[in-house]
Subunit: 194 residues, 3 copies
């Protein structure tokens, strides 16, 4: 499924960028940027693969690691510019959340066959990288922010799972669900939904 | 073994309740309650299953996830009442700690055959959910509290392992060990043992 | 490979000692010393084994757990003395970082065959125990300290991987790489490299 693979790289890249931005705010060195970008970009998917008992995605295919490192280097050199575009980055993060909630649900459904497990792995995949980023950077967890965040992830995972159980074709179900999650998170950013 | 299965659901439900209470103190929304209840209720057992290389319990049987969600919803609507009963909740937490220390040791002994590994998985299972809850809620780790906590978990895991190695029947060994752990943690709560 | 096994026990023991020292600064009881020593000593290697999908090292061989417990007891009774030798401990930590970065790279290379994955598992193994220690002890993450730390781990993992790919015999590659990592971290401690 082409779209799923694209979602995967997009999710990793976007979360890696938010990790690198956190490194920038903490004034870390280039290696610190790469470390935090890697942990944020791959953390959610790593936990998902571990609990599902499938091989960890970046051990199978190390392109994901290279994506994180390249994003970290780009953000390192563009940091002043990117911090000026913090609002843009929040929107990219919303795209990452949307992509990962659907990808996590798809992998969970495939590995376990349970819609309930799919909801959980969707939320885990979308949120755990950000949680790790915040803990490592010593900032309050994303969970405690007043804006809608976990709910948007649940929306994406839920929409995909329902569409899938209803027999909608995989790529179309993914497209609907990513859109749903992005609209919820985007609405929270745009209109301050809490 | 009926008792072990009961201990399992009881441990999940009670830890989930402490996670939901932490969500209540942080004034999270309903999804936040469910998220924190789920992480606290399943965190210790998830780490245990991962290190032992066995399938993660809630991926195998998603009833555990439903238990966490139901408990979170109940606490969400009963939150003012429950906060008034915080002392009761600490005692429920003691019961969860006791149940999980024994369950973790039993699973560790079964999977590895090593009494030392059983002690470690007993302590991990009983404490890791609470550690995750505190880190995510931005509160000081349970580890740093002056009261006896890890020691009670070690007591439960140790009593079960010793009784098991001595040939005591599983359910009876579990009953003795849960009681021992509960008495130690209960004594700490009642008499301020440090 | 004798040297690799030695590196392994040395890394566990030295990181366990830093965990016990953190417990000492937080004035925990003996069980708290053992808990924090165990988590710090085994945390990095546990994450490495989980992501590589190989059996967790201390479940396979519980000697590692005993090493952590013995180190914790020694530090508990020698705590005042050891705190006076904090500088020495930082150097021991540098030795642990060097040992673990190489060991992690060696295991990653063996399990995945990818040099890039080896770099990541080398850095993870060397740093994750310390990250857990800091999070659990409520101290700022090692990542945020200005001194060179992650870079030294990357140095060790990178030197081993390059030497290995270049066909250098395993024990010699390990010796070169441990020395490189130790010199970088030692230089940071001695000359304040940031």
């Amino acid at each position: 499924m082409e779209l799923i693979q694209l979602l995967d790289y997009a999710g990793v890249a976007v979360f890696a960028a938010t990790g690198a931005l956190a490194a920038s705010r903490k004034e870390l060195d280039l290696i610190g940027f790469i470390f935090l970008a890697g942990v944020t970009g791959t953390g959610g998917g790593t936990l998902r693969d571990l609990v599902l008992g499938v091989p960890v995605f970046w051990v199978e295919n190390h392109t994901y690691i290279i994506v994180c490192a390249v994003v970290a280097v780009l953000v390192f050199f563009a940091a002043p510019l990117v911090e000026y575009r913090y609002r843009l980055l929040l929107w990219l993060d919303a795209a990452g959340l949307a992509a990962y909630s659907v990808l996590g649900a798809a992998k969970g459904l495939e590995a376990s066959g349970s819609a309930i497990v799919a909801l959980v792995t969707g939320v885990l995949t979308a949120t755990f990288g950000g949680v790790l980023r915040d803990v490592l950077a010593g900032e309050p967890s994303v969970l405690l922010r007043p804006e809608v965040y976990v709910t948007a992830a649940l929306m994406g995972a839920g929409a995909f799972t329902v569409a899938n159980v209803a027999g909608v074709e995989g790529a179309i179900a993914a497209l609907i669900a990513v859109t749903a999650a992005f609209l919820v998170r985007g609405g929270a950013l745009r209109f301050g939904w809490t």
